[in-house]
């Protein structure tokens, strides 16, 4: 068995599993306080000054549930490639809104993991959002490779 095969068979699925569980737990952890305290999260969304009252309301209603669903699916191992794609999208969105707020000099609460927390946005929160996006992207690519090799195995299996 050459190095390539070992990497594909052992390392990549292991890495994908760790990333899946890590991201899943993080999304679960961040979604529950937002669902529990929607008014604080709505305030946080408005503080970024990127959306109007109606779009902000929609974001505050939908985003925590998207995080919860993605978290459950990543931990449970169902619809993983779709969940990772949403995770990439959310990471990109978080990075954009935090970078935009930093550029405009806003001194506001991040609202990342707890809607009522006092953690301010800063370069650390921006780096964290970028890391979420990058790790999700790597895990997504690995997932595609794993799916592809599963497909080949299925097609080559003798009937």
């Amino acid at each position: 068995m050459n190095f390539n095969k070992i990497t594909r068979k052992r390392f990549m699925p292991g890495f994908a599993l760790v990333v899946r569980l890590g991201l899943g737990c993080m999304f679960l952890y961040s979604s529950l306080p937002k669902i529990r305290q929607p008014y604080d999260f709505l305030s946080n969304v408005y503080n970024f000054e990127l959306v109007g009252p109606k779009l902000g309301l929609l974001v505050a209603m939908v985003l925590p549930w998207a995080e919860l669903l993605v978290g459950i699916c990543l931990i449970g191992g169902i619809f993983v490639s779709g969940a990772l794609l949403v995770s990439i999208g959310m990471g990109a969105m978080f990075s954009f809104v935090i970078a935009s707020a930093l550029y405009r000099g806003l001194n506001i609460s991040c609202g990342c993991f707890s809607a009522s927390s006092t953690e301010q946005i800063g370069y650390i929160t921006l780096i964290r959002a970028l890391v979420i996006m990058l790790i999700s992207a790597v895990a997504y690519l690995i997932q595609i490779v794993i799916n592809n090799s599963d497909q080949r195995t299925l097609l080559c299996r003798p009937t």
């Binding site: 669902i35 529990r36 305290q37 929607p38 008014y39 604080d40 709505l42 305030s43 408005y46 503080n47 000054e49 109007g52 009252p53 309301l57 505050a60 209603m61 939908v62 985003l63 925590p64 549930w65 998207a66 919860l68 669903l69 993605v70 459950i72 699916c73 449970g76 191992g77 169902i78 619809f79 490639s81 779709g82 969940a83 990772l84 794609l85 949403v86 999208g89 405009r104 000099g105 009522s116 006092t118 997504y140 595609i144 799916n147 592809n148 599963d150 497909q151 299925l154 097609l155």
Partner: protein, 289 residues
């Protein structure tokens, strides 16, 4: 010894359900006003009456508050008060049961989905559908399910944003200044040569000490009559740029909201204000002074 004195350290966030079932008085950590502010106040919960919370906020008399109205003001932190040791397991028993039920439902759903994968025509998913297309479809499904869950939850739940329209509206009102467009110092440069009206929201003495060329003074402390007199010549559809001292000053936002209420529709705020203008352009006395 905190426990023997009847004081319990925090063990987790409370919800309306626990308040409804509580036989203990609880000191609640609340906001003094609904809106973007911090949780800066405490009120004593004294039980329920006609499905409403009995709240005591000295020196005011005891008031009855709908549990729906309590949600946007309370962060879920509470200090349970009792002369006897508190049975915290019994206190959270129903919450624990509910949590176990939700967790079991989630596990069953995951197992069913795993089984469903085997029942699905595997070759259809693996061979005919492209993998990227499949994940995009799944992502679209996530968005749709999240939208449905969010709408149903916020409509059906007492604490929901749709079920509690008054609280949501009060938060939107408190954030009204966030919805006003902002302009940069570069944009202000361009607008100075146009028909744009500049309004200085600082106190009159600060305006006299220096302001943008042609800016009108509408101080934040001006009353309604003074405000209307100062803006009488400005058409309702005119482009207006408000500013005050610096980015941390909120006078421009306050005056802008007053003008929007008066019917002005095209208002922006120069957030950096006079301080940013002076820092980048130097101080220049206005000819009209």
């Amino acid at each position: 010894m905190a426990q023997f004195s009847g004081v319990m350290p925090p063990v987790g966030k409370l919800t309306n359900r626990e308040l409804l079932q509580s036989s203990y008085p609880i000191i609640l950590h609340v906001k003094s006003e609904i809106g973007p502010g911090q949780y800066d106040h405490y009120e004593l919960f004294l039980g329920t009456e006609n499905n409403q919370a009995r709240l005591f906020d000295p020196p005011n008399p005891i008031k009855l508050v709908n549990f729906r109205e309590l949600v946007p003001q309370w962060d879920g932190n509470g200090l349970i008060i009792s002369a006897e040791p508190i049975d915290i397991r019994a206190f959270f028993a129903s919450t624990r049961k509910r949590f176990m039920l939700y967790a079991a439902a989630a596990i069953v759903a995951i197992l069913v989905m795993h089984r469903a994968k085997r029942w699905l025509p595997g070759e259809l998913l693996n061979t005919r559908t492209r993998l990227f297309g499949l994940s995009v479809t799944q992502a679209g499904g996530f968005a749709l399910v999240a939208l449905l869950c969010g709408i149903i939850y916020h409509f059906a739940n007492d604490a929901g944003l749709l079920a509690n329209a008054n609280a949501t509206a009060s938060i939107q009102q408190a954030h009204a200044a966030n919805f006003i467009p902002k302009v940069s110092e570069k944009k202000v440069h361009k607008l100075l040569d146009s028909d744009t009206v500049f309004i200085d929201a600082r106190f009159a003495r600060d305006y006299k000490a220096g302001h943008l060329d042609g800016a009108i003074s509408v101080p934040v402390d001006a009353n309604d009559v003074e405000c209307q007199k100062a803006t009488a010549d400005i058409p309702k559809d005119a482009r207006i740029v408000m500013y005050c001292q610096s980015a941390s000053c909120t006078f421009a936002e306050k005056v802008a909201i007053k003008l929007i209420t008066d019917g002005y529709s095209n208002i922006s705020i120069f957030r950096g204000g006079w301080a940013e203008w002076v820092a980048k352009n130097g101080k220049k006395e206005d000819a009209s002074l």
